[in-house]
């Protein structure tokens, strides 16, 4: 526990909510400042009509702060301001790129904060959710399957991951990730002793009883198969990562990680041979510039954009990020790199690193093992999602279409990530309460 110490005396200037408010004001100033820059730029795509929406976004973050004050007063104070900064910066970037998307994104931010508040109100204790783990597994699988259903499932740009809601579309997969994390945490807390203790040896490796492994493997297989059917490479990769992370967190056994990596490589080779769209992505990753007008176009343009940005960027509204396909969603990091430069891009990565650090601190401070797993799993999921999409944009990994959390345009992703934020804040608040009760909570003894 020495790595992260809890926030000091919870009064006056050191009260976590005071810290949070100060940081939020800073994030709000950064967002408004960036917005002012966009409006002042020589040529700008930011029309004045976006201003009320910016006000709405800032107001919402303020409201979120007061909700936390009422509903989770002892929660970790840096998570919400970091999210405020990322969401605000992403919103300004979207506003500069596409006015219509900006209006919709501000509405999604409203929905996200309603979901955030609702989660805080409806779930006063995350550990209770462990009791519903099989219900959650079922719910997660249904969410995953929804886009494959006729009539309501929609295919966009080759991936069938959307559900038509008449006036808008949602990606149930974004919510499935959260729900399945809760299931995995619940199941693993229940069974982790059994998964850790080896019952036999095979080829010099200790093998735990495979019976306990079966439901997990089944869930994983169904999830991966569904995602492959939907041609959602990014989510398959993330779900697989989540599974390995949760197994490792619960058991501390590196063997699961090695096993995960081996099956990941096998799966990668298999999907490379089976799917032409996977081959295209890999070719575009290895050498985007040899086919820069076709398969490599998106990745090559992202690099050209970021190179144009240089150290300090072209300035907001001064670049031409509009040429990059999917620039408001998958490629928004390249637009930030172009207009805010290396400093801005690194700033965004540092903000995510702060979020990941704070999330892990919540996990470490948590007393209940289920809550530990949930906080660690959700934080790692978000962290790896950033790595997968930014790595794809900057040619570290093949590009897979996932959002940059809180920054990219996209309603489902934004709302799901606000739910993740609410869960982390609720867990940290519970942990603080547990400690103030002398740390003698029964849950310390475990759930099983």
């Amino acid at each position: 526990m020495a790595l992260f110490t809890p926030v000091g005396p919870e009064d006056g200037l050191h009260h976590p909510r005071t810290v949070e408010m100060g940081l939020l004001v800073g994030a709000g100033l950064l967002t408004a400042g960036a917005f002012g820059l966009a409006a002042l730029a020589n040529r700008s795509d930011t029309p004045p009509a976006v201003l009320p929406f910016l006000g709405l976004v800032l107001l919402l973050l303020g409201t979120a702060h007061f909700m936390v004050r009422r509903l989770a007063p002892s929660a970790e104070p840096t998570l919400l301001p970091v999210v405020g900064f990322l969401n605000g910066l992403g919103y300004v970037m979207i506003a500069r790129l596409d006015e219509d998307f900006a209006a919709r994104q501000s509405v999604w931010t409203l929905v996200g904060l309603v979901a955030f508040t609702a989660t805080l109100i409806v779930v006063p204790s995350i550990r209770r959710l462990a009791d519903f783990r099989y219900l959650l597994a079922l719910g997660g699988l249904i969410l995953l399957l929804l886009p494959l259903l006729p009539y309501i499932g929609v295919e966009i740009r080759g991936a069938r991951i959307w559900v038509n809601m008449r006036f808008f579309t949602i990606q149930p997969g974004e919510f499935a990730k959260v729900v399945l994390t809760l299931f995995l945490a619940g199941y693993l807390v229940d069974k982790r002793e059994l998964l850790t203790v080896s019952t036999r040896r095979f080829a010099g490796i200790n093998i735990p009883d495979l019976r306990h492994f079966a439901p997990l493997a089944l869930a994983l297989a169904i999830a991966i198969l569904v995602m492959v059917a939907e041609r959602d490479l990014g989510s398959s990769l993330l779900f697989f990562t989540l599974f390995v992370v949760m197994m490792y967190l619960a058991t501390s056994r590196v063997a699961y990680v090695i096993g995960g990596l081996v099956s990941f490589i096998a799966g990668s080779v298999l999907s490379y041979q089976m799917f032409s769209h996977v081959q295209r992505r890999v070719t575009a990753w290895l050498d985007p510039f040899s086919d820069a007008n076709d398969s490599g176009f998106q990745v090559a343009e992202a690099s050209f954009a970021m190179a144009d940005g240089g150290l300090v960027g072209t300035g907001l509204g001064e670049g031409t990020p509009g040429v990059i396909p999917a620039v408001t969603t998958d490629m928004i990091f390249a637009a930030i790199g172009e207009e805010f430069g290396l400093l801005g891009a690194a700033g965004v990565l540092v903000a995510f690193l702060l979020f990941v650090g704070a999330g892990f601190r919540v996990a470490l401070d948590a007393v209940d093992p289920f809550e530990k797993l949930v906080a660690g799993g959700l934080t790692a999921l978000l962290g790896f999602q950033v790595f997968v999409i930014v790595g794809g944009v900057v040619r570290i990994l093949p590009l897979t279409g996932v959002t940059l959390p809180f920054v990219s345009y996209g309603g489902s992703s934004l709302v799901a990530n606000y739910v993740i934020l609410a869960i982390l804040i609720r867990i940290s608040d519970s942990a603080a309460k547990d400690r103030s009760h002398g740390g003698a909570d029964k849950t310390l003894l475990g759930t099983s």
Binding site: R43, L249, F304, F387, R395
Partner: protein
């Protein structure tokens, strides 16, 4: 147990993020220059089309090209050419699909603000962006340019008006021409279609004939022949009058226009445009070396130094065959295997060809005491606040003749206006010198190129302007000639310049 895993997992994520930070540093700083110069990188072009581009003005302030913001297009700025085809061959066009031409091409760095002198000013340069766009000012006078267009009246040909002392182009217009607005269209398909149509159009309208096409200069070239004589070893001599001249080894004689008898001094022969006299001078007195040297001194056989792309090299032969020996085979005589060709070349026929701009440079060099100035259409580049950031320097690219020869030629050409083939250029109160030219296409083809080259100024002062007018041979107008067709155009132009109309 979970805590230990959590800490390890955090380390893994920190490593992942460090890899990302290293990679974005590579892309944005270390490898940025390579990425910007990658041949597949079209962003600098795109950026140019999404920012305001500097205007192109004439020296008297007429807007030739400008950028206006548009809202229903792929790009933010649309290039406008309010004068349509009038400056198509000088200012050129600027098209996303078709590239650029003219000043739009050669002064792109200034117009886009990428030029170092413009980047140094302005905050943007500090941040690595483009500087403010420059305003390019042409040396062209809008009144004279309009007059050139009106006077050609749709006939294929060119009008070039230069300032002899600087080489500045005061007017330059060619028919056929085109409307640059068709090519600058943001609708790429429409622009490409218009381009293809122009390429197939008769008369090659996209080609600036004034400096990209060569024509037989005909008798206007006699100014060069006269310069070769005066600058050569022989110097001024008189030629006995004749109506026919057989060059050595020639099987057919050279005659004079209308079969007249002519000869005498250089002054006489320039005034009467004496074919037989100049042919004899070249074949028997000047010789091939001096002829080539003088022609090249005026700029022949090399593309003219010019601030627009596509300047063509005028052609004068450099090889007239071996020098022959006397019948005993002992002494070399002044006869060459191609002496008949040499005789014809003195008249601007056979293998001689030149662009209208080249012939204007010949007149300008004579008017400027023998020094040929590099022609240029751009006067200077200004910033938005009017301050000058770049001035085009006058540059002597060649000493074509000695000052004495130039003065003698000026006198001879004045004579052609006073009492010769260029009589139509006589204007009260203005000192005009000129040489006409009527170059027949050939025995089998009807029609002649009509030329006049010359200079004009206030009496007693050095000439202020030099000009070349060329009206292309047209089989449907067989009686076209320098005196009848080109001289009236030049006269109106000179009168316009001196404010006499």
């Amino acid at each position: 147990m979970i805590d230990k895993s959590l800490r390890r997992l955090l380390m893994v994520l920190v490593v992942c993020f460090s890899v990302l930070l290293v990679q974005i540093s590579r892309i944005q700083v270390l490898d940025a220059e390579d990425l910007r110069n990658n041949p597949e990188n079209g962003r600098s072009i795109l950026r140019d089309f999404n920012q305001r581009r500097g205007p192109i003005l004439t020296i008297d302030g007429t807007i030739v090209a400008d950028s206006t913001e548009v809202f229903d297009s792929a790009f933010t700025y649309q290039r406008q050419y309010p004068e349509a085809e009038l400056y198509a061959h000088t200012a050129g066009y600027y098209s996303f699909n078709l590239g650029a031409s003219g000043v739009e091409k050669t002064y792109n760095d200034w117009l886009s603000g990428r030029s170092a002198a413009l980047r140094l000013s302005g905050l943007n340069s500090f941040l690595g962006g483009a500087g403010e766009p420059g305003t390019v000012v042409l040396s062209i006078d809008h009144r004279l340019q309009e007059a050139a267009q009106e006077l050609l009246a749709g006939r294929e040909g060119s009008v070039v008006l230069l300032q002899p002392s600087t080489g500045a182009v005061l007017a330059m217009y060619s028919e056929n021409t085109f409307d640059p607005r068709l090519l600058a269209n943001h609708d790429g398909a429409a622009a490409v279609a218009a381009s293809a149509e122009l390429n197939d159009a008769p008369g090659n309208p996209r080609r600036p004939a004034a400096f990209s096409d060569n024509f037989f200069p005909g008798s206007s070239f006699k100014v060069v022949t006269a310069a070769a004589l005066l600058d050569g070893d022989v110097g001024a001599i008189d030629v006995p009058p004749s109506a026919e001249y057989f060059a050595p080894l020639a099987s057919r004689p050279i005659g004079n226009s209308g079969g007249t008898l002519c000869g005498g001094s250089i002054d006489d022969m320039i005034a009467s445009s004496c074919n037989t006299g100049f042919a004899r001078l070249a074949a028997e007195f000047i010789g091939p070396e001096q002829m080539s040297d003088t022609a090249e001194g005026f700029g022949f056989n090399d593309p003219l130094p010019f601030d627009l792309a596509g300047s063509v090299a005028a052609v004068y032969p450099t090889d007239f065959g071996d020098r022959l020996r006397d019948p005993e085979g002992e002494n070399l005589v002044g006869v060459y295997a191609d002496s008949p060709v040499l005789a014809q070349s003195a008249l601007g026929q056979n293998n001689v060809s030149a662009s209208p701009l080249q012939m204007a440079v010949v007149a300008a060099a004579v008017a400027n005491g023998g020094e040929a100035m590099s022609p240029h259409v751009v006067h200077e580049v200004r910033k938005a606040d009017g301050s000058v950031v770049h001035t085009v320097e006058s540059d002597v690219f060649s000493t074509a003749t000695s000052p004495e020869t130039a003065l003698a030629l000026q006198l001879a050409m004045r004579g052609a206006v006073l009492d010769g083939t260029a009589r139509g250029l006589a204007i009260d109160g203005i000192d005009v010198g000129a040489k006409t030219g009527t170059a027949q296409l050939g025995e089998d083809e009807a029609g002649s190129h009509a030329w006049v080259i010359g200079f004009a100024g206030d009496p007693g002062f050095p000439p202020e302007i030099a000009f070349a007018v060329h009206v292309k041979a047209n089989p449907e107008v067989p009686d076209q000639s320098g005196s009848r067709t080109a001289v009236p155009i030049a006269r109106e132009l000179v009168a316009q310049y001196f404010g006499l109309t």
